[in-house]
Amino acid sequence: MPSESQALMDWAIRFFDSVNAVRHPSSPNSLRVQLPREIDKELTDRPFFWMWAEAMNENPPETILHLQFDDAPLPEDLPQDVQKERIALGCYRMLRMEASAKKRGAFAVAYEQGAVLHPYVVFVVKISFVSDRRIDFLESYAISLRDQRVYPDAMTRLARKKLMSSRSPQSQIMSLPLDVDALFQIMFQCTKMDISRKDGMWAVEARKRLTDELSRLENYYKSMENETLETNEVQQKSMAGEYELRKAETIWRFEPKIEVRPLQFALVYLATAPGP
């Protein structure tokens, strides 16, 4: 199996384990999972079915999925209640699994092992440069609650640590107040600094395109105004309306925008500062 498919399957295994789906034995390069009700609702779009089941007090059996990650033919001899499908990046099921992970993984608390643990908050932020095209940067920052020191590229740094979802009884936590508004302000300051370091040529080009397009529109509609001078007022009004619409569309399409979207927020207690 190609390494990309293997990586996808590894991710899927971790996802299903994290949401407590029961894994059944399966052939190589495939997964067979029994979905808890709440996960089933997130992975398959059938709100009316669930509405009906709940209204009628029905208790449908849990869905079992057979997910195949390689190109081998899907098995023919599966039990009737097992739904089989091939999984690749971008397929519907994969998108739903990712959406579920993003929804469930927006917030977290984690602990490192150690005698004394200091609190840090971790932000994952998407910065997007948008005009008629788009480029994204996924940034992560860890901010120490003790001294507000900021550690960029936090997710890479944290990947080198062993983090657990519960605190070891031997660990002592240095508790500090969590002022989320102030922390968000610090994070936005960080993104601004990051943005200022990036190449801004895209925005200059987009702005130029916008100006050129608007001036072409202006010339065109002015020339049309002269053409329609002898025609009736209604026609002129409709032309003016059309001009306004085209202008708005052009700005919508070309105006350079920077969007900063915080996506995830975690509180992590670390024995030592996030590493290099």
């Binding site: 994290s18 397929c91 998108l95 992970a101 927006a106 997710m155």
Partner: protein, 554 residues
């Protein structure tokens, strides 16, 4: 100054939880990895290619999608020649914009017969959750909606569509927007949209103005105002002043891939002329109709009366006497003929009625029986189509009809019937539009359109991406008739059937071409003059094609 937007959804969600970020760090990590996968790291790549497990696009389709997104900035006329997969190109562009988060709300307007096909392809090939429009609620319920243009232009649907902005609007078979005075054109002009794709293989059909109208939807002023356009670009209604200059102006808004230049490995075309000798009665009828049409044509042209019925009659008589009966009857019933004209028409009607056998019909039955595979028989006329169906049924050949006027469901049904049950599909041109019939590789042109582009549209139904077998085309040619000249011109002079003509339709509208052909046929005094005039026409076609090649190169 760049617009700067900070989103606060995460902060609000956190506050709703009392400021406590409770949750599993493993899921946090998984979410981060998923986000990383969907992050657009580059401006220039086509990111969607890695998330299309059910599609391997051709190189020209990928190039087109890149060009539309990166160079044409999302507003373009996709005008590839028939059979190169314009739908795939439009789908790629839509998917790329969705993946990049630039399109959420998209509307795809198509002929009614293609709504289900588009919806299915977007779901199956592109993993785009597209829905077919069914009722008034559809407009606001779904993000990606496929709807019929004809339904959409009527209220209450029109009002619903105009009340909301669309990130992307795609119009398939966009030649239906050629006239800026129509409700079709006005609807598209009024819709609020960021990106716009117009998809058609024939951006010009009758008049250069049609091209102007399409381009103005995409980018008003690209070709100047109407006066400027006429002054700078129009030589005659049907030909540009300077094809290279026009081509240059179009390159900012139009992509046109040619079959000969694409890397698509099309299967071979085998073309055969099927010469037919008319029976004595058919010959008598043909000669009588032709001499009537020729005399009337000159007379009416002098007195500036309409020659439309005559043109139709002359063309029908090449198809079948059955087809001509309807027109002759119509001429009589309308009562606009002088008494002597009426008498002649009456005579022709009786002659047509008295034809005892049909050479073409017998031949088509013989061919279909010998082919022993699926066959598409094309005709221009509905009367011929009905008659053919009847005669095939008499010979125990299962056939189904296909027409432009059929509703969406009926077209799908007929296509299915042809694929599963029937041996023959009898189609008129309009019926063939947008339908893909790659499972069939046998085409019989029972009669021929008098222009090359429409012939190419016919063949393009089967000779396209996805056809795995060689395509066999048989053209009926009745000796000593206009048809013989037409077949010869299309086949020998323009080499229509074996090498595809490129940009002809941009330069030369089909209708205009037909008129020129007819004039050549009716105004000539003898066979040699007909030949000479058609020769000139063929050369003009070749010349315009060559000049476009040069335009591409510069």
């Amino acid at each position: 100054m760049t617009h700067y937007i900070e989103h606060d959804d995460l902060l609000s969600a956190l506050k709703e939880r009392g400021g406590l970020p409770v949750g599993s760090f493993e899921l946090f990590q998984l979410a981060y990895e998923a986000e990383l996968r969907s992050t657009q790291h580059s401006l220039d790549d086509l990111s969607c290619l890695s998330v299309l497990p059910n599609l391997i696009p051709f190189p020209h389709q990928i190039e087109t999608a890149k060009r539309v997104i990166h160079e044409l900035h999302g507003r373009a006329l996709l005008a590839d020649e028939v059979g190169l997969g314009k739908t795939i190109e439009a789908g790629l562009i839509l998917k790329e914009y969705i993946v990049r988060g630039l399109v959420q709300k998209a509307l795809i307007l198509v002929p009614a017969s293609l709504v289900l096909q588009w919806t299915r392809e977007l779901n199956e090939k592109f993993g785009v959750r597209a829905f077919a429009q069914r009722n008034e609620w559809s407009w606001t319920t779904y993000d990606v909606l496929v709807a019929s243009l004809d339904t959409t232009k009527r209220d209450p649907h029109r009002a619903a569509v105009l009340s909301q902005p669309y990130d992307l609007l795609i119009v398939d078979e966009a030649h239906k927007l050629k006239n800026s005075r129509t409700r079709n054109w006005q609807l598209i002009n009024e819709i609020q949209k960021k990106y716009l794709l117009l998809v058609t293989a024939t951006p010009v059909q009758n008049d250069m103005k049609e091209l102007y109208n399409l381009i103005n939807l995409l980018r008003p002023g690209q070709l100047g105002n109407p006066k400027h356009f006429t002054k700078e670009h129009v030589s005659t209604k049907r030909s540009p002043k300077n094809p290279v200059a026009l081509r240059h102006a179009l390159s900012d808004v139009m992509v046109r891939n040619r079959r000969v230049e694409s890397a698509v490995d099309f299967t071979e075309r085998h073309v055969k002329i099927v010469p037919l000798e008319l029976s004595t009665e058919e010959r008598e009828l043909y000669d009588a109709v032709t001499s009537f049409v020729r005399e009337e044509f000159m007379r009416r042209k002098e007195s500036k009366r309409s020659v439309l019925a005559l043109i139709t009659l002359q063309r029908e008589i090449c198809s079948s006497s059955y087809a001509a009966l309807g027109t002759l009857e119509g001429m009589l019933k309308r009562g606009r003929l002088t008494p002597s004209e009426a008498m002649r028409v009456q005579e022709l009607y009786h002659l047509a009625e008295a034809v005892p056998g049909y050479t073409k019909i017998s031949k088509v039955i013989e061919l279909i029986k010998s082919i022993n595979d699926k066959v598409i028989v094309f005709t221009e006329y509905r009367a011929t189509q009905d008659f053919l169906l009847y005669m095939l049924q008499q010979s125990n050949i299962k056939a189904v009809l296909f027409r432009g006027g059929y509703k969406r469901g009926k077209k799908d049904w007929m296509k299915d019937l042809f694929e599963r049950r029937a041996q023959v599909l009898i189609a008129t041109e309009a019926g063939g539009e947008g339908i893909n019939l790659q499972f069939c590789n046998q085409v019989i042109n029972y009669d021929l359109p008098w222009n090359p582009m429409r012939v190419e549209q016919r063949i393009g139904r089967v000779h396209r991406v996805g056809q795995t077998r060689p395509v066999y085309i048989q053209n009926f040619s009745t000796k000593g008739t206009i048809e013989e000249h037409i077949v010869r011109m299309l086949q020998d002079k323009i080499q229509m059937f074996e090498q595809v003509i490129g940009e002809l339709d941009v330069i030369l509208g089909p209708r205009a071409f037909e008129e020129d052909v007819l004039e050549a046929l009716l105004e000539s005094r003898d066979e040699s003059e007909i030949k000479a005039r058609l020769n000139v026409l063929s050369k003009r076609v070749k010349r315009s094609d060559t000049s476009n090649h040069q335009g591409t190169a510069t």
